[in-house]
Symmetry: C5
Subunit: 264 residues, 5 copies
Amino acid sequence: MRSRSLLAVVMVGLLAWSDADAVQAAADREKLLKDPGVSGTFAVFKVDGDWWKLDKAARGAAAAEVKAIFQKHADSVTADTYLLRGLSEKADFFVRLHSMEMLNNQNFLVDLMGTTLGKYLQNTNTFNGLTKMANYVPAFPDDLKEAMKTAPDPGPKFYVVVVPIRKDAEWWITAQDGRGMMMKEHADATVTYLKTVKRKLYHSSGLDDLDFITYFETAKLDDFNNLVLGLQRVKENRHNKQFGDPTLLGTIHSLDEILEIFSR
Amino acid sequence: MRSRSLLAVVMVGLLAWSDADAVQAAADREKLLKDPGVSGTFAVFKVDGDWWKLDKAARGAAAAEVKAIFQKHADSVTADTYLLRGLSEKADFFVRLHSMEMLNNQNFLVDLMGTTLGKYLQNTNTFNGLTKMANYVPAFPDDLKEAMKTAPDPGPKFYVVVVPIRKDAEWWITAQDGRGMMMKEHADATVTYLKTVKRKLYHSSGLDDLDFITYFETAKLDDFNNLVLGLQRVKENRHNKQFGDPTLLGTIHSLDEILEIFSR
Amino acid sequence: MRSRSLLAVVMVGLLAWSDADAVQAAADREKLLKDPGVSGTFAVFKVDGDWWKLDKAARGAAAAEVKAIFQKHADSVTADTYLLRGLSEKADFFVRLHSMEMLNNQNFLVDLMGTTLGKYLQNTNTFNGLTKMANYVPAFPDDLKEAMKTAPDPGPKFYVVVVPIRKDAEWWITAQDGRGMMMKEHADATVTYLKTVKRKLYHSSGLDDLDFITYFETAKLDDFNNLVLGLQRVKENRHNKQFGDPTLLGTIHSLDEILEIFSR
Amino acid sequence: MRSRSLLAVVMVGLLAWSDADAVQAAADREKLLKDPGVSGTFAVFKVDGDWWKLDKAARGAAAAEVKAIFQKHADSVTADTYLLRGLSEKADFFVRLHSMEMLNNQNFLVDLMGTTLGKYLQNTNTFNGLTKMANYVPAFPDDLKEAMKTAPDPGPKFYVVVVPIRKDAEWWITAQDGRGMMMKEHADATVTYLKTVKRKLYHSSGLDDLDFITYFETAKLDDFNNLVLGLQRVKENRHNKQFGDPTLLGTIHSLDEILEIFSR
Amino acid sequence: MRSRSLLAVVMVGLLAWSDADAVQAAADREKLLKDPGVSGTFAVFKVDGDWWKLDKAARGAAAAEVKAIFQKHADSVTADTYLLRGLSEKADFFVRLHSMEMLNNQNFLVDLMGTTLGKYLQNTNTFNGLTKMANYVPAFPDDLKEAMKTAPDPGPKFYVVVVPIRKDAEWWITAQDGRGMMMKEHADATVTYLKTVKRKLYHSSGLDDLDFITYFETAKLDDFNNLVLGLQRVKENRHNKQFGDPTLLGTIHSLDEILEIFSR
C-alpha cells in the first residue's frame, strides 16, 4: 500500500522555535541518545570541488540555509556533526541523526541535500541502525556488569571514531551461550578504557550491509588504539568479516564550526 | 537471427488512456504482482548534480515528460517507485517494473532514460529476475505451509528493503532434499514476522550476477531487523556468498511524490 | 622487433562495396561464426551524458560516420550489435567482433572510437577470446555427442547473455580425465535447453583476465534461468572462481536500431 | 561534550618566525621523529587536471600560499614531502606529518586543503598512526638487540616506500610469546639491510583500516626488494591480511622542489 | 636526509643529439634490455575525452612536444610504446621504460605528464620492477637449461601481453628447493613456446603491490593462449594470488604511430 501522507511530513514547514521548545528538545535529545528503539543514521559527505569556486558571500548564505534545516527538524531529529577533513580521504564531515522513526532521518537528509550546500555534497556513505537493549550483558557475572557501569571521565572528548562491523555466518549460527562467552571476553577487554573512551552501539542487520555501527568518543587516541588492540586479541574477533572499511576518524565540532570551515 | 521488429515495440506511441483501460490495468497489476512467470526489473538511479542547476520550470516540465512515459507503458508494465535519497549513499530512487516479458521492462527504461530527467540520471544498479512457483514449500510440513499463508497486517508499510542474494556453489550442489531441510529452518524463522513484513522473491540466476532478489515492505524496522537476525542464525546462511551489497533501504512513494522532491 | 607496418593496416581507406563483396562477406561471416581459430572481441560501451546534449542533427551525422566504419572493415571483421541499456547499469550497448586476426578487431575499434560518437563512448569492458576445437566432447559417450548436435529451434532469439568465466587453479591442475568427467556432467545438464538456448564459447586464458567468454541467445529467459540453475548444480561449478561479474543481459538489435535509439 | 575551542586552534594566525624559533623547531623535529607518543598522518594527493589549465603566474602565487601554511604550523607540526608522480598511478605526492596531537595534523591539512592549490587536490589516501615503544624487541636475544642498533649508512636516501599493513585475526589472538618468536624471525631477516634501508613504524589499529604504517627510505631499491623478499619468507607473513595495497613508491623532495614541479 | 640535487636531474635540458649519441644509445638499449640490475617502469595511460575536443593542429603540436621528451631522456632511459586502445577497456597505451636507476624513469614520466598531451592523460596503472639474475635456472637439469636457450623465431611479434603476478605467503615460505621443483615444472611447460613467445621478467616485491611483472611478445595469440593454459596446469599456479588483474593485451607500435592515432 502506498503512503501518500509521507510527503506531508516531508513538507512540514519551519516551526516557530521558543525557549520551551528548547527545553523539551534538550530532554528529547537525552532520551534519543540513551533509549533503545531509536533510529540512528550516519550520513557522510564530501564537499564537491566546485563548491570552493563559489564566492564567499554565496557560501555564507548557503550556510544559513543549512542551519535553518537543522532547526526545522530539531523537534524530531537530534543532529550531531563531525569533521573528517584532513584525517580521512573518504569524506569531509558527517552528521549523526537520532529520531524515533527512521523516516524522520530521511526527511532531514532530503531537506539537507536540497539546500544550496547540499547540491555540492557527495554522499559517500550512509549507515543506518537501531539502538536496542543490551543482548549479552544480562548474563554477564555481576562484577563485570558493575565494572561496565563505570562513567566516562568528565572533560571534552575531541576525537570521534566510527567503526562499522559485519559478523560472519558462523557467529550468528553459534548459539546465544557461545556468543555470550565470547562477548564476555570482549567486554573484559574494554573495562580498562571505560573512563577515557565513550561508546555507543547501533544494530544494522537488514537495514544496511552491516551488523553493527560502533561509535566512540575519546580525547586519548593511544587509549583507543590500545582498546582496539585488546578487542583484536579475543576470539570474537575471528568472526568480524568486516571491521571498519571504512573506519571514520574525525573530530567533534558544532555545526557552526563546520560551516565556518566551509565558508572561509 | 536479428529481430528488427523489436524496435517497432520500442517506438509504439502514447496510447489513448480510458477508464476501461484503467480497470484492465488494475487487474493486470494484481496479476503481475502475484503470478509466476513475470519479469521483474529493479532500476536504481542517482540524480546527477547538474540536474539541480536547471531552473524550477525546466525541472517541472521534465517531470511531466516522465509521467507520460509511465502512462505510455502502463498497459504492459507495472511500475512502482521508491525513495532511497537520505537513507542510502548509493542512489536517490528506484523503480520496480513487472511485465510478462523482460523486453517490455527494457523498452520502458530506454524511454525513461531518454527523457530530459533521464539524461541526468546515473543508473547505479539494475537487478533482473523472474517470479516462479515456490520451490521448497510443497515439501514443507502442513502446519508450516498453513502458517506461511498468514496475511500481512493491513495498514501502510512505509519502508522498503531490497536484498540481492547469491548462493555459493555448495548450496546448488547440495541435493534438493538437503536444501529443502535448510529452507524449512529458514521458513520457520520468518513465521513470527509474516504479519509485519511483506515479502516477494525473484529468481535471477543467469540473468544477473545474483541468484535472488528479495523484496520487503514493512512499517516496523525493528521487526525487520529481528527477522534478518533470525535468518542469519540458520544454516542456510552459510551458503550466502552475497547478502545485500547493496542492501537498499528506502521509503515507498508515488511517482508524483518522487517527482515533486526532484522538482523543488 | 617493432612493426611499423601495422599502422598501414590501420590506415586502409574505405573500400568500394559491391554485391559480389556482399556475397563474399556473407560466406566469410558464416565461416567466422563457426570455425576454430577465430579472434572474438566483445567491446562494451556506455554513452557519455554529454552526448545527449548534442542536437539531433549532429547526432544523426555521427550515426552515419559509425555506419561507414562498419562498412570499411566489413571484409575483415564481422560485427554484431546488442542493446544493454535498461537491463544493465554497466553499459548501453556492445559489439561482438570476429576476424581471423585480433589485430583486425583492434583496428575496427580504434576507428570506431575515433568517430564523433566514439568520443562520447566510455569503454566499460572489453573481453578477448579465441574459438577453438571442442576439448572434452571427443571423449563423451556417443549418445551425448549425438544429443549435443540438436539444432536450436528456428525463430528469433530476442535476448543475449554474455557470461565471462574464470576457473580456479584446482580446475586446471586436475588431469584432463577428471575435468572431462565433470564436463560430461555439465554437458548433460545442457541437453534439455539446446533447442531454446543457442551457445558459443571463446577461450581467453592469457588474453584477458578470464578463461572463457560464454555467449548465449534465447527467446525464453525462464529456460535460460533453468539452464544456469542446472549448470550450478554440477561439481564443475565448484571451480568457477568467477561466473559473470559482469553478466551482460541485453537484446539483439541491428546497428541501425541501436543508432536510431542514440539519435532520438 | 562538544569542544568549541577546537576551532580556536584551527584559526590561530600565521606566527612570526624567528631564528630562535627555527632552532627550537629543529629540536622539536628531532624529538617528533624519534619519540613514542607522536601522531603521524600520511596525506596522499593527486593534482586535479584543471590545475594545469591555470596560468603559470596563478600557479606560482598558489605555491606561495602553500609555503605559508607549512610555516604557520611549523611550531606544532613537522612536515615532510615526497613525490609519487611517475612512479605511482595512485597519486602525485604525499606529506608526512608528525605532531604531539593528531588534531594538529588535521588543522594543518584543513588549512592546506583550503589553499588555492588545495582546492585542486584530490585526497586519495590518508593513513593515521601513533609511534609507540618497541613491543617485541625487549624480549629479543642480546645479539639481535645489538645488531638492530646498526645505524644507517650516511648519504642521501633518494627513495621512499610506504607499506600499510593489516594483520589477520589469528595474529592478534596468538599469545605475545608466539608473536614474539615470529617477530624475532622477522627481525633476523632485516639485519643485513639496516645500513641501506632506514625504517620507521606507526601503529594504526582503530585509527585507520590498518594495523601498521611501515615507512622506508633507501638509495638502493635492489636492497629494499631483497629485504621484502626476506620478510615474505618468514612465518609472520602468513598473518599479513594486507601488505601494501597501496604500496607507495616515490622520491624524497623538499616542498620547494614539489611546488616547482607543480608550477612549471 | 633530503636530496635537493634530485631536482637538478629533473631540470636537465634537451641534449644535443648526434649520430655518435645514437650509436651509443643503441648499445645502451641492448644492455638495458638484457642486463640484471635494470629498473623497469610500465606506465599505462588513458587519454581524457577532452583531448579529442582540441583541434587537429593543437594535437599535432602536442605530439611534437612528446617526441622531444623521449629524445631529451634518450641517453638515460630506453622507452618502448604499445597501443592498448580497442583491446583493453583499461587504457589506451603504455610505455615501458628501462634505465639504470628508477629515478630516471620517474624524471621521464614527470616530464611526459607535464606536456600538453600529458595534461590529458589519466595514469591508470604503473608497475615498477627490477631485472635480476635467474633464481631457479642454475639448479635446473642441463637439458632443460639448454632447451631454455632456444632463441625466438625471427620476424615481427605484433602482440604484447603484460601479466602482473603476486604469489601467496605459502609460496615464499616454501624452501628454495621446493620452489625450485615447482619452477622446473613451470619451465618445462614453456619450452614448446620459446620460439613463438618472447618473454621478460621483472621483480617487484616491495616496489609495487606485485611480486613479478611478466612481459610477452608474440605474433601467435593461440600459442600464447596455449602457453598460459600450460602454466595454469602446474602446481606453482596454486600460489598465484594474483595473475593479471589487469592483463594488458595490446599491439607493438612506435611512438610515431601512437601519436599519429592520437592526432587524427
